[in-house]
């Protein structure tokens, strides 16, 4: 990696690490199902940016874009299904607090 490439890598990497930490903290700290989904979304954004950065540094921008588009489609489907599950959980339990969801306890 050239000096300029290393510089770009670290500048964007700070943002990627920040997004990952934010997403992980959001998932760990909250008890609300919708907030957990938002944390998951932040983590996916970090991965998206990392793929684009890798494509830029290796000179494979086109391939990285194709992978990112596939990732975005999968991300949307995950969010739609997860949103449906959240609504379904709320209809059955009248709460989104994970501490009160004890029906599936083994």
């Amino acid at each position: 990696m050239s000096l300029e490439g290393a510089h770009i890598f670290w500048v964007f990497n700070i943002f990627i690490i920040l997004l990952s930490v934010m997403g992980a903290y959001y998932i760990i700290a909250t008890f609300n199902l919708i907030r957990s989904l938002i944390g998951l979304e932040l983590l996916i954004k970090a991965v998206t940016l990392l793929i684009v950065l890798a494509g830029y540094l290796t000179g494979n921008e086109g391939l990285a874009q194709a992978l990112v588009i596939t990732l975005i489609v999968i991300e949307v489907v995950i969010m739609v299904v997860a949103g449906g599950i959240v609504v379904s959980v709320y209809r059955n339990n009248r709460t989104l607090d994970t501490r009160r969801l004890k029906e599936l306890k083994g």
Binding site: Y56, V73, G83
Partner: protein, 142 residues
């Protein structure tokens, strides 16, 4: 709780917009457009719909919010006007010097010729999502 959740969703949309600017700076305009339109737009709508399904306000609270709304955002037209005047005065001309993408690196070529099996996978994932939502929202038999 509802307001805080909606604020979180708006924050997520803003992060998505910033990420799409960064992706554009990394010479990937097609991915940036997808990120901005789908992630900042569609996913925010999905989240707001989920919140409105699960965190309904009582009629009293709704009425209270309706009354407070105009007082709360009364400064917004002034801010918009000031931003518009500043933009008219300074006329920003964003200059993004990006190197041209070679033809073999064009995302459209790669999607349609090199990674065409991905498209089949995408269609299958979308169908799986649609069936999942249909099953989740299915009314129970009486």
């Amino acid at each position: 709780m509802t307001t805080r959740l909606v604020r979180s969703v708006v924050g997520l949309a803003m992060v998505s917009a910033v990420v799409s600017i960064l992706i554009f700076r990394l010479n990937s305009p097609l991915a940036a457009v997808f990120e901005l339109s789908v992630c900042a737009g569609l996913i925010s709508v999905i989240f707001v719909t989920t919140i409105s399904f699960t965190q309904r306000l009582t009629p009293e609270k709704l009425e209270l919010r309706r009354k407070q709304r105009f007082d709360k955002y009364s400064y917004l037209p002034v801010v918009l006007l000031a931003v518009g005047i500043l933009l008219m005065i300074f006329k920003p001309n964003p200059d993004f010097p990006l190197p041209p993408v070679p033809k073999e690196q064009d995302a459209r070529n790669i999607i349609w010729h090199l990674r065409h099996v991905d498209l089949l996978g995408q269609i299958l994932v979308i169908l799986a999502g649609v069936f999942g939502v249909v099953i989740l929202f299915k009314e129970p038999r009486k």
